[in-house]
Symmetry: D2
Subunit: 119 residues, 4 copies
């Protein structure tokens, strides 16, 4: 069993024991995911960018950061499980697409998408 | 190497080749994560809840769903890598916390958090 | 003084008295806005779409809905004030653009954007 | 007619002409709102905080900022109209609550909520 399958297994039992499948359609889970991402955002909204590396490692903040990251991950895993998405596979495929859309020699050091000759 | 480490490895090369580390502080990555979660949300905002299981499996919609899920996962992995968060570990720990906060006998079939006697 | 100017006036005093201008750059306020929108989302994530009209009017839920709507509005007003955006004016202009992009005869009853012949 | 009523009036005609009321229940509109807030976030995710004041005023970026702000405002107005929320009224009330929760003498210069003796 892979690492992701182990986590999915834990989540499936957790959900089944609480009979929560009825709440967990893909629409509702997309809302769970976005609202949990919003909570991580809330933690960092007043922190300066360059200070945020230290902030997330500070022992007072760390448990909150980890809890929010976990909530986002759980929502994402529940969505993938319900929608039948192979998370590892789609990430690999997307990285391949991104390699094409952001060629290293054009994208280096820039945060904006390079012009696409084919379009 | 575990499954998550393999994905992190791919992302580290991708980021390094483009010299994007300077953009990827935890604050900025929390914004990336929330904005990508917003794109998945956008796909499903006009879809009825009960119809959303079929919608995400429809062959026209499927590639968009997978691409948005992948973008969210990539943002989450980049955040964890930058912040030094062990994703698998924090998810396990959070499931344990959730087991305590939502006891199966009280939470069964309800979407709201049961009252907490200890608080 | 218009209605929006009155609200902006209240917010300006509130912010000035607390010396919060230093936190309120456009980037941070976009994070405030998205995290507050995430909290409204969280309220409705397990509510069925057709039941949500009644849910937001239920006397138990109503104060929470109003508080989250207010938080989103305050974040939006703070952003507009800081960025010098005339909210009323940009909304009018966007409605005009939307009238063009979603012609009534093509968009009627559909939630997806009609094909654009000019593109 | 107040400024907000004028905007609501424009939006009501726009929605009615397209027979979109059926899509616009409060749940769906909360998703619209959060996804539009995510688009504003996306614009600013790689911009440094201190540089973001200039960035939103740059003539290349300005139209995008205004369009996203307008989309968020439209989603918020549609939500308020559907849910029967008086936007101006709830904002005033929330500012009063915030004055109490963040007393100026305690909150001055700090971004975190002061301790609440009453709780």
């Amino acid at each position: 069993m892979t690492q992701l399958e182990e986590l999915l297994d834990l989540l499936r039992s957790f959900t089944a024991e609480r009979e929560w499948a009825k709440f967990h359609d893909p629409k509702n889970l997309s809302m769970l995911l976005a609202s949990e991402a919003g909570e991580l955002l809330a933690l960092l909204r007043w922190v300066d960018g360059p200070a945020s590396d230290g902030w997330v490692r500070d022992s007072v903040n760390r448990p909150k950061v980890e809890a929010e990251v976990a909530d986002v991950a759980i929502a994402l895993l529940l969505f993938c499980d319900r929608a039948g998405v192979d998370l590892s596979e789609v990430v690999r495929r997307k990285i391949t697409v991104n390699r094409r859309n952001y060629p290293a020699e054009l994208a280096r050091g820039h945060s904006t998408r390079p012009p696409r000759p084919e379009e």
